[in-house]
Symmetry: C2
Subunit: 463 residues, 2 copies
């Protein structure tokens, strides 16, 4: 966008096309100009509420004609600044594209619009005996989950969005509609455009339809919590479970301090030690077998106070507690801002990576919560910062840098599931090297020559 006049002309065009679905009020723009990250930047110039693929095509085409940035928006639950309008432009809100378009129970696939949230999808398919397992905690939109290559608690058994998206409909930067795959379970037909789009954070196009794998609800489900004398004991238990190939569905770590926050936040009375939350899926016999094996391993590492949750209500209570860790952390320090870490390392390196990071965080004096999808080698510190104390932010960012450096040295990644956004651009270069990032830049420039699709995220175009 060149001049002030141009933007006004452009906004007038957009308003003419979208009428009541165009909004440039400050309150709506501000709502679309922030996410769960701790960045503050000016809001987008306008918000368009898309109700169809054609709406997305028209919005992108208008933006392309005027060289204006387009930022796809789902529910705003991303954590790394993905949604922020750092170069101005239009927030393209797809939350009203919230139809489940097809349920093919007989093929274990569904096709949805991008504004459907994971909970809404599970509600819509409940009657079929199927479920969609990917669970990042927040009730994120599935479009957003595609964009960040999300995963969460069930990934240890069911994989991430990488493994569970079969095909996409995408509006490209030139406003063209393409399909990236079919409903076949596997394919060797050409480049894997589906997985190029999964994790591209809105920088290569706008996702308008998603075909996903779904799974039969397990015949039996059993969940348990177990307390450990130390984080190390809990982590070593996890490593052994994974190395033995036990097909556990979820294995989550919460440290003692975070358990304390949770007890306070949700009026619970969990034992205040390092804790594993686990869940087993399968036939009744297989669940029993898994649970017995895991209980044995846990006991060897000093695990005690096993508590079983077999009814759906008990399990919901358990996982709600887990998902409340973020809010419990925030409430433990009123007014704080959170910086989340997201490293993921090979399972054998988990203890090394985690324990050293805990020691450093403890030494820093910065309050934090600690949770982990430890079955995948992925964990999150949430550093709880006083926004009026720049020294704290500096300390937290230094801790995060050291943690990422440690994870990379242990052959891990800077981001297990949150994505790069604005926050991890330097980490990405440290992880992959300039060569791979240059390849990403080349692809971006080829597919979005005007650089209008969520510009300035994942990497800087300047080398």
């Amino acid at each position: 966008m060149n001049t002030e006049t141009n933007i006004l002309v452009f906004l007038e065009c957009l308003k003419t096309r979208f009428k009541q679905n165009f909004n440039s009020s400050l309150v709506i723009r501000e709502q679309h100009g922030r996410d769960e990250s701790s960045f503050t930047v000016p809001p987008p110039d306008a918000v368009v509420f898309a109700e169809s693929t054609q709406d997305v095509v028209d919005a992108v085409t208008l933006c392309a004609a005027h060289g204006v940035p387009v930022i796809p928006f789902g529910v705003g639950s991303s954590l790394e600044g993905h949604l922020l309008a750092i170069h101005g432009g239009v927030s393209l809100d797809v939350s009203r594209m919230n139809q489940v378009l097809a349920i093919h129970a007989e093929d274990l696939t569904v096709t949805v619009q991008p504004g459907v949230t994971r909970k809404a999808l599970n509600e819509a398919i409940k009657h079929t005996g199927l479920f969609f397992p990917i669970d990042p905690g927040a009730d994120a939109s599935l479009g957003g989950m595609v964009a960040t290559r999300a995963s969460g608690t069930n990934a240890v058994r069911y994989g991430t969005m990488r493994e569970n998206v079969l095909a996409l409909e995408v509006v490209t930067a030139s406003g063209e509609v393409i399909r990236t795959g079919t409903r076949a379970k596997k394919s060797s037909a050409g480049y894997d455009l589906t997985r190029l789009m999964v994790g591209s954070e809105g920088t290569l196009g706008v996702v308008t339809e998603i075909t996903l794998k779904v799974y039969p609800l397990p015949e039996a489900i059993s969940a348990a919590i177990c307390s450990f004398p130390s984080i190390e004991a809990a982590v070593r238990t996890t490593i052994q479970i994974i190395q033995m190939g036990i097909p556990i569905a979820r294995v989550e770590l919460i440290d003692a301090n975070t358990v304390r926050m949770l007890n306070q936040y949700a009026k619970l009375s969990l034992h205040e030690g390092a804790m594993l939350l686990m869940e087993f899926h399968g036939s009744p016999a297989s669940v029993k077998e898994q649970a017995e094996a895991v209980q044995e391993i846990s006991t060897e590492h000093g695990g005690e106070a096993f508590e079983w949750a077999t009814t759906p209500e008990e399990r919901t209570r358990l996982w709600t507690a887990r998902h409340n860790a973020y809010f419990a952390g925030v409430q433990s320090r009123p007014g704080c801002k959170v910086i989340s870490t997201d490293t993921c390392v090979p399972i054998s390196r988990l203890a090394d990576c985690l324990l050293e990071s805990v020691a450093q965080a403890d030494a820093s004096g910065i309050p934090y919560f600690l949770v982990g999808h430890v079955g995948d080698g992925n964990f999150h510190f949430g550093y709880l910062l006083d926004p009026n104390n720049p020294a704290e932010r500096e300390t937290a960012e230094a801790l995060n840098h050291q943690l990422v450096a440690r994870a990379l040295a242990l052959e891990g990644t800077c981001s297990g599931e949150h994505g790069v956004g604005l926050h991890k651009m330097d980490f990405l270069v440290a992880e992959t090297g300039e060569g791979a990032v240059n390849m990403m830049r080349t692809i971006k420039q080829a597919l979005d020559p005007k650089n209008i699709m969520n510009p300035g995220k994942i990497f800087s175009l300047k080398t």
Copy 2:
């Protein structure tokens, strides 16, 4: 390459650099100028045997400087003309890059050079109690399996190369070495370059290192064959097994005629009806449970003559028989050429797709064998053609066209696992539409502006 002189100058440069690892004898060139497809084209201008990543860098750099095509070569088992030097150039043979570089048993990962074959990998990790499950039949090189996004008999439980490659080292078209990932089990760090390379058939770079997932050998394995009164009964049994979510490891179909070919080829005495070959992996209790459930479903569909194979020797005999179907087919019509089909459809559409195609093939009078990774909805006709009878080829290609059209109408893909190569370029356009193929072209042109990496495969650059 512009003139005859240029190619001579270029070959001299290549020879100077690679000495005894350069070969331009006709016999070696011809060996590298054919694959298992039925195409015949002139061989490459020369063959270079790479022994290191640096060799690949130097070969690609020289080819780039002279604008000469580079065609990566593993063991030559691809089926769709992937390896053919349709624009001349250099066949870059990586079969001597056959080292297993790292075995991280504690993380269930290995890192290998691209010339390691799947059987060699399994031999190398046998002592760790781990195995690599992807089994396309042929003892393909892992580099080639990356290139075609291969899968095979175990994919129903363990996924394909798409799900099992964690990271790659790739030499790009400009001779740069990049790494596409880490050993972390999951990552949201930037574009998924790993999966962009998996299935790119050598058109975007040369793979020089591969990090793969491996799996603990199941505590118990049990295999069975079961005869059915019709193909339909076998297929409906399969559909029900998959829809019930039974975690079967393998479920393969062989039609009655192919069983007859196998009996003759390998001196077996299998019951000559439509047959399912199945394998179950898990704990002893879980294998028993799966096998019982499957036996019940099979019996409901008229399955009989269940034969169990529980010792490794019996299982090897069974799977060797399955993998010999191709050769048994070829031997049943001495001197014939094979055209393989490779459609894959959602499981609920499998009966429709397969039965109609069988009826058409039977009506055509063309001899064929029929095998299928039916648990994934993927099956292969091998039409057995008299190479001296062009009418037969025409009929077979017409059958294949009709089959692909049928699969696409049923929301399937033209290629489940063989790749596009030369043979399925039109099918790819029919499947994805020009929009998606144009996106592939744009990526190819951006990453390989001189069009030297295996040019002319997957799609034509001219639209």
